[in-house]
């Protein structure tokens, strides 16, 4: 009787243990599904946010391009055509016709070249053809043309990322350079990129007056926009600043598709 009772106790303990295991598995399954659903929702929310931000970036870039285009039409192409008109007028009034007309022809040729460059900027497939390096060089040329600021670019690494991500990265760098010019009053801006494993670091360094990155009051829309975009790309952005200038490090994964 005692041995049987002992065996029954062991059986009951065993059964209770397996019952608890079964209940534990059920609870675990429900908990896991809930966690997975939360993760899926968060992922789709971030994806939606990324696409919203991308759309905003596209519009910003288009707007910036249009502004630059307007300025170019007025300051460059307009001036070249005006010069040509003046030269033709001079040729009509003076005897030195051949030389003046040659100069006028060269000026018109220059205007045509400028016009071709401008039409490239207005291309419909600009996003499909968007190239971070080319656009950054064009940005540097525009800034350097002022002769008040020197912007240098050192990109030894070839960017291996989708066009939309290149556009996002370009906007972040553009935002950082604009901050250097507007708020930092910098005269020298250096941009360089380094790669470590799959992470690409783009650094924007200036010799401006600097700011306190820990002071929330100093973190304007531009700074927050860089942070937000870097986060959406699965990366981060860090600032270090002092009286000698500001360094912005933008870290983004290279091969991630969003």
């Amino acid at each position: 009787m005692d041995i049987i009772s002992q065996e029954i106790t062991v059986i009951l303990i065993g059964s209770a243990f397996f019952l608890l295991v079964a209940i534990g598995i059920i609870i675990l399954v429900l908990f896991y599904q809930k966690k997975q659903l939360m993760y899926t929702h968060e992922k789709s929310r971030l994806q939606h946010q990324y696409h919203q931000e991308l759309l905003k970036t596209k519009l910003e870039t288009q707007e910036a391009t249009l502004n630059w285009l307007g300025k170019e039409l007025h300051d460059n192409l307009g001036q070249l055509l005006n010069s040509s008109k003046v030269l033709i007028g001079v040729a009509q009034r003076t005897n030195n016709t051949q030389e003046t007309l040659t100069t006028a022809g060269e000026t018109i040729g220059q205007a045509i070249t400028e016009l071709r460059m401008l039409s490239k900027s207005l291309s419909q497939e600009w996003l499909e053809k968007f190239n971070f390096e080319e656009n950054l060089k064009a940005e540097a040329n525009r800034i350097n043309a002022t002769r008040e600021i020197t912007m240098t670019i050192e990109l030894t690494e070839h960017l291996n990322m989708p066009r939309d991500r290149q556009l996002m990265l370009f906007r972040m760098v553009q935002e950082a350079t604009q901050n250097s010019i507007k708020h930092g009053m910098a005269s020298v801006i250096k941009i360089f990129a380094t790669q470590q494993d799959t992470m690409l670091t783009v650094t924007v360094e200036d010799n401006g007056k600097g700011f306190d990155p820990t002071d929330p009051a100093k973190q304007g829309f531009g700074t927050n926009s860089i942070k937000h975009r870097a986060l959406l790309m699965g990366g981060s952005a860090r600032w270090s600043s002092g009286s000698g200038g500001t360094v912005v490090n933008i870290l983004v994964p290279q091969n991630t598709s969003t």
Binding site: I11, F18, L19, A22, I23, L37, T40
Partner: protein
Amino acid sequence: MKFFISYILEFLAFFANFIALSVFCLKISTGFRYRLLCAYYLLASALIAKTLLDITVNNAHLYSILYVITGLSVSYYFYDLFTSAGKRLLAIAVGLCTLAYYLLSLQNKDIIFDSVGYALTSVGIVFLIFLYLHQLFSNITEEPLTNNFDFWFVCSQLIYHLGSFVIFLTYHRLIEKIMEGDYSSENRAILTYLWGIHNVLLFLGSLLTASGLIWILSRRKSQLS
């Protein structure tokens, strides 16, 4: 009360499952796997009812039939539930193993409860349950699991088969031990009491299935209104 738990509760559990699945077939889905389960629970209820007609006679052969129909029906249920060919093949294998073991055990002419047959069926079903959970995790949907009747049914099977596994495994040996030693009414009462525990687990499982059905029906009703 002891008589109720040791004898009647088993019939009630099977019959409750039959009712729950019938309601599910009538109101929600007429899928073949549910109709087959309905038929299985009806047959199981009939078998248990037969054992209740005279509780003094040996009913081991009826319980052997019960484990083989359980193995076959639940294996088919999982076969229909699985989406991958590999998992389906494993469901067929579990069903065939149960049937093969039953056919082999028929030659033994053993008159005692077949622990190995029951344990084999339970292990097979628990294995299929894990495969189903793997399938669930591989295809996470927006729909909460609690709205899925299959999930409730599988949970009830997990509680019953995993909870009763030790009882199934040791019952044959216990009967043998008591028969060889002291075949007293006290010892027999212990055996009946142990089977009562199994009945409670079976009933808990059927309660879970019924609760799931009520939950799903109430959710559907609230969505419609």
